[in-house]
């Protein structure tokens, strides 16, 4: 199954159709969610209008974390089976995951000021563990860029990504394990969601839209990486032919 999916030619064929489809679906879903968040939903009973920030902050937090899981999984697949496409996927996920993590941290800070009265709290486990995740993404990107051979970069990056996965449960359960300014889980929690339907539906549609956008961006970045590697191989073959 993994070998079937790991064929770059098959990937190029499938992603040529999937990526544009995902872009269109994502535009519709994110557009709907933003319109609901800015113009339709009423102010929240406790937080007032600042709860509108949720429609960006929650999907970005979801993607920041889930894309790290994707990065670690792709790294694990590369580490075990040495499928080049898994390495290409990991390399493509990292900068996009970092982008969503920056968005998560910045929007969280912009939410924190009117809600908690502070931009940042260094002793808050949720905030600091998400910041650590950003450093893991940036470390992964820098490590790959610093190593001379592609094989070395893939190996070192994969090890870092797999070790860093330990941070994900820490982020998820930080609000349960430690005293935190951040509110507890509102949707995925024991006893069902605590969020009003009027907020929850557009929020979930927006989260799905961002997920599709992320998937489309990863596919596009992977397609570019495959072409770049192919071009580099063609150049090397041409040079080898001239020297011979």
């Amino acid at each position: 199954m993994i070998s079937y999916l790991a064929n770059p030619l098959r990937f190029l064929k499938v992603s040529r159709v999937l990526a544009p489809t995902f872009y269109v679906l994502a535009a519709g879903m994110i557009g709907y969610s933003v319109w609901q968040g800015l113009y339709v939903v009423p102010p929240e009973a406790v937080q007032g209008d600042s709860a509108r920030i949720l429609f960006i902050h929650v999907p970005s937090a979801w993607l920041a974390m889930s894309s790290y899981v994707g990065l670690a999984l792709a790294s694990l697949i590369w580490f075990i089976w040495r499928h080049e496409l898994a390495d290409i996927a990991a390399k493509s996920i990292a900068p996009l995951g970092a982008g969503y993590t920056v968005l998560c941290l910045a929007t969280g800070s912009l939410w924190g000021k009117p809600t908690w009265g502070t931009w940042w709290q260094w002793d808050d486990a949720r905030m600091v563990s998400v910041l650590v995740m950003l450093f893991l993404y940036l470390g992964y990107i820098a490590l790959r860029a610093a190593l001379p051979s592609r094989q070395q970069a893939a190996r070192a990056g994969a090890i870092l990504a797999m070790v860093g996965i330990i941070n994900i449960p820490l982020i998820k359960f930080s609000v349960d394990w430690f005293t935190s300014l951040h509110q507890d889980a509102s949707i995925l929690r024991k006893g069902g969601s605590a969020m009003a339907e009027v907020y929850q539906t557009p929020l979930l549609i927006g989260a799905l839209g961002h997920t599709l956008l992320f998937a489309a961006l990863v596919m596009s970045a992977m397609r570019a990486e495959i072409l770049e590697r192919k071009t580099a191989r063609m150049r090397a073959q041409l040079l080898a032919g001239k020297e011979a």
Partner: protein, 50 residues
Amino acid sequence: MGPDYDTSAPYIWAVYGLAVVIIGGMILNTAIRARAARKAQEAEAARRPE
């Protein structure tokens, strides 16, 4: 005219503006990279002897 929010209006608009900049930047960057990769591959293919 925009909607009439409470005192958190600047924070709300800053969040949505930032989302446009960061997500728009990622889309633009990916599109530029994909285009450059395609062009480079086409140029390399054209350089190859028949």
